[in-house]
Symmetry: C2
Subunit: 215 residues, 2 copies
């Protein structure tokens, strides 16, 4: 019943441990396949600690959505990803995104998208948090494209907001098909097509690394 703001440092750490354990279990078994008791055991907390931090499963799932949104967005901002603000960086980001799916045999899908697929119509609180998570992710992509636009690398015809939405959609749909078919080809094709479209707005073709349907 205690809001995060009122928790001690130790309390916050415990709460975060519960959310992190729940996120991993839910990523593997789905929301429906994960019980509060599973999470309690995995986090190594008592039943009274669980009920102290989370009144019900819904409030836990909502925090898991926020957690996964943070994980995904931090991953996009990691030094390995190298920014999202040049044509080259976007190609590197796409290659990394595809490689990550190949490395895990195309299992599991997107940490945020797979949650959305499961609860978006049945859990209003989770949907609200998912909408915020996707909006944050979209903003991250938009900011990179906006920088390119500000530097004059993207033509004034390009709309960074629409391009960011389209890129995130290609990624989410590509992930879902890749996850279902256990084959990275749809994700690779979707990101390649969408980036080639983004590159069609380049003011200087020399700033574009590679384009078209190669590979």
């Amino acid at each position: 019943m205690t809001g995060t703001a009122k928790l001690t440092r130790k309390g916050r750490a415990t709460k975060e441990r519960i959310v992190s354990a729940a996120a991993d279990l839910i990523y593997e078994h789905g929301v429906a396949g994960t019980s509060i008791e599973d999470v309690r055991a995995a986090a190594g907390v008592s039943g009274s600690q669980m009920t102290h931090y989370f009144q019900d499963k819904r409030s836990l799932v909502a925090d898991v959505v926020d957690h996964q949104a943070r994980v995904v967005i931090e991953l996009e901002s990691s030094p390995a990803a190298g920014g999202l603000d040049s044509f080259e960086a976007l190609r590197r980001w796409a290659a990394l995104t595809v490689q990550r799916q190949v490395d895990k045999h195309c299992e599991g899908g997107c940490r945020l998208g797979s949650l959305a697929g499961e609860v978006v119509e049945t859990d209003l609180l989770a949907r609200a948090r998912l909408a915020i998570g996707f909006a944050e992710w979209e903003r991250k992509l938009r900011e990179g494209l906006q920088s390119m636009s500000d530097r004059g690398e993207l033509s004034p015809d390009a709309d960074p907001e629409k391009l960011a939405m389209a890129l995130l959609a290609a990624l989410q749909g590509g992930m879902l098909l890749t996850q279902t078919q256990r084959d990275a080809a749809p994700l690779a094709a979707a990101l390649d097509a969408m980036l080639t479209y983004v590159e069609s707005f380049a003011t200087d073709p020399a700033t574009v690394g590679r384009r078209g349907q190669d590979g």
Copy 2:
């Protein structure tokens, strides 16, 4: 326990009624939120009829996947959709797809994609059927693009298979974002971007209706 092949005409009709009722309930409440008893009551059959046709929920869900794939693919092939084998037809298809989401206030998402989001990692049988359903859908899109290629409207550089995968990914991801945010903008942006990319392979610009980021 009876395979569809061995059913009488009346038996097939009863089975189809059960699957159709299950598909509607699951589309609204999700797999986890739909019980065998809910389906039995909605279909108006007895408990022994239910167990006669479906040993367990999994076998019912698998048939629901096939049913939804058929519904979606028939929708794509309807006279209203007007084929998928010209640039104009593809734009009409995209507009219709967006309009359908607007009409239902962006609720529910894709009949097939939303099922995938819920069961792809937790139900092997359903995943196999989903992969078949998506492959069929992709084939439908690919055939249209292949016709355009055969008629010389699409440049030989275009790969109808990759374009079909990319289009379906844009649609699925756009649907998921649109459903989560209750706003058709991501779906519209994703389809517009992907179709403009497809149109970049037109051998004769006059065959392309409209292009770019309008609207």
